[in-house]
Symmetry: C2
């Protein structure tokens, strides 16, 4: 049986409150007593119960970051931004996958008040749950998702404008038949990006395809497959605007396998500027946004609880590389950016 505060008190010959004060560095306790308590605690390998402390204090000093996919190439910089700000408040951060639907850890943690605030990225947590649990004592920030309510803030990026910029760039390079390689139709960012795509075509008096024929579920394999099918069935476009980089890279793989040259025959532009975009061949032109900032700002909002809904809009930038045919000033050293420069001690 693990030692509790009572055992420590008994061994040290003091009251439990004294142990609590001593171990929490309360100034009330004399040095002598504190030493005695610490010695007893060590002797018994005492480990305080976080659960009991949280219950008593009614807070956990922990922020939860809930992501669809812990491993994705997209998230690491967001996590870093969150981590840094959480640590600066001397809070803990737990990162948690939303994988698993109704009974996912994320849902449980959110419902059971394991954390004092949450940052949510991805669509696996339904709006209803967020609205239900958000409160003054439980602020929530959603990333790249529109959701307005008290104590729910959002950090958005200019999805529509970014897509508009991407497609306009293609048009300026002389492309006329530009296909939209779509992510999940229900996804917020996907639909915004589609809107930007349509606006660019419309403003340049180009034909907007009546329906979305390429759907890649935001996955590399999805982009690959749907473009494969397209190549078998119909006339090629002269450009593809993919709603994210993974699909763009999948599309390029399919095109290459089909003997289609990128960018000569078909130009490709993605969205997100994921870290290895510079390394695919040809390197990927894309729309970038600052992921670190996104995480850091979101976390500031969590600590800065306000009733009024508050949404912050971050800009996107066109990042020109080789997949769209314009020979941008490709910086060979860009490579170094893909690495996280933090402490690492593990191979």
């Amino acid at each position: 049986m693990a030692a509790t505060i009572k055992d420590v008190a008994k061994m040290a010959g003091v009251a439990v409150s004294t142990v609590s004060y001593a171990l929490n560095n309360s100034p009330k306790i004399s040095e002598e007593t504190r030493k005695k308590v610490i010695r007893a605690a060590e002797e018994l390998s005492y480990r305080p119960s976080g659960a009991a402390r949280n219950l008593k204090k009614r807070k956990s000093e922990t922020i939860g970051l809930f992501l669809n996919d812990l491993g994705g190439p997209f998230y690491s910089q967001v996590i870093e931004g969150v981590q840094e700000v959480v640590a600066s408040h001397d809070y803990n951060l737990i990162v948690c996958s939303t994988y698993g639907g109704e009974n996912s850890s994320a849902n449980r943690f959110l419902r059971e008040k394991f954390v004092d605030g949450a940052i949510i990225m991805g669509t696996a947590i339904p709006d209803s749950l967020i609205l239900q649990v958000a409160a003054e004592s439980f602020p929530i920030v959603v990333l790249d998702r529109e959701l307005k309510s008290d104590y729910v803030h959002s950090v958005l990026i200019t999805n529509e404008q970014g897509a508009y910029d991407a497609v306009t760039h293609l048009i300026k390079l002389g492309r006329r038949r530009i296909e939209f390689l779509s992510g999940p139709l229900a996804a917020y960012d996907n639909s915004k990006r589609y809107d930007g795509y349509k606006r660019a075509l419309t403003e340049h008096s180009l034909h907007v395809p009546p329906k979305i024929s390429l759907q890649g579920r935001y996955l590399e394999a999805g982009g690959y497959q749907t473009v494969k099918v397209m190549m078998a069935c119909k006339r090629l476009p002269d450009a593809i605007f993919a709603a994210n980089d993974e699909m763009a890279i999948g599309a390029m793989r399919a095109l290459r396998e089909g003997g289609i040259r990128v960018p000569e025959d078909v130009a490709v532009v993605g969205f997100d500027n994921i870290s290895f975009g510079p390394f695919v061949r040809p390197s990927l032109t894309t729309i970038g946004h600052s992921k670190y900032e996104m995480g850091a700002i979101a976390t500031q909002l969590v600590f800065n609880v306000q009733k009024e809904e508050n949404s912050i809009l971050l800009p996107t930038q066109l990042v020109i590389r080789q997949s769209c045919g314009f020979k941008g000033t490709h910086n060979e050293n860009e490579e170094s950016y893909i690495f996280h420069e933090g402490r690492r001690n593990q191979g």
Copy 2:
């Protein structure tokens, strides 16, 4: 004030125990009562307190995965392996950075029994803490780290043999002056990899440099810097064996900037087979190991508590690409492996 179980009981006109049973789907409760309770709970937006439940049950049904660096290109597959097995036991997973030394979240969670078991990768958690907290009720598995004790298991990879294979490969290709680009000297895996390097040289009667002159801290920038310095100071080797891929890629960047051709002038081999190794130019020859398995097996060990120390050794494989000069059968489609094929709904 958030509603508690008492409030629900009052509103439903039943005892708190009844509420508890009803909400936890105990078969004792009549359907009628259960409905009444559920209605009251909804009415009050009742959210059970995980802290109270954990305190009472003396467990959290949560496993902690503690990593140096949540964002690194190395970890995502490990996380996936862990996630899957944890979920299959209907447990929760929290991933947590060890960043922050003494007061890091990781240390706190470990000490305060927030989790029922832990998987630790990286050196930021000292042996002493691990040994202190490991117990039957708190199994710990360390990844790629040798630590023997009751209730501490380890999952290792054949670091020494892998390094030996890498260097032997270089020797077979005719390289004779092979430098070791080292990670932190104190790192376990680094020293094993160094041992393998030395053994390969010795067995082939090649000169082993008397001291390690290249130290890159396992970082891309570290590899870059130290190789830059080397190029300015001394005669070039004809090959570099880097203790991890990041440093290898940094080394290649430095070499390229110095007008040195890879692999013609200097061959480079890394270690770990990180996901974008196929995409750097030239693509990186490296030593691979299965990171998903590592995570999955570690998690099995956590659930499979045993007193006896138990260590599992996973093999490594030479992955031949272009940076070492041997034209392996480079599979263009390898590209697709770098993507996680799970659910993603977020751009």
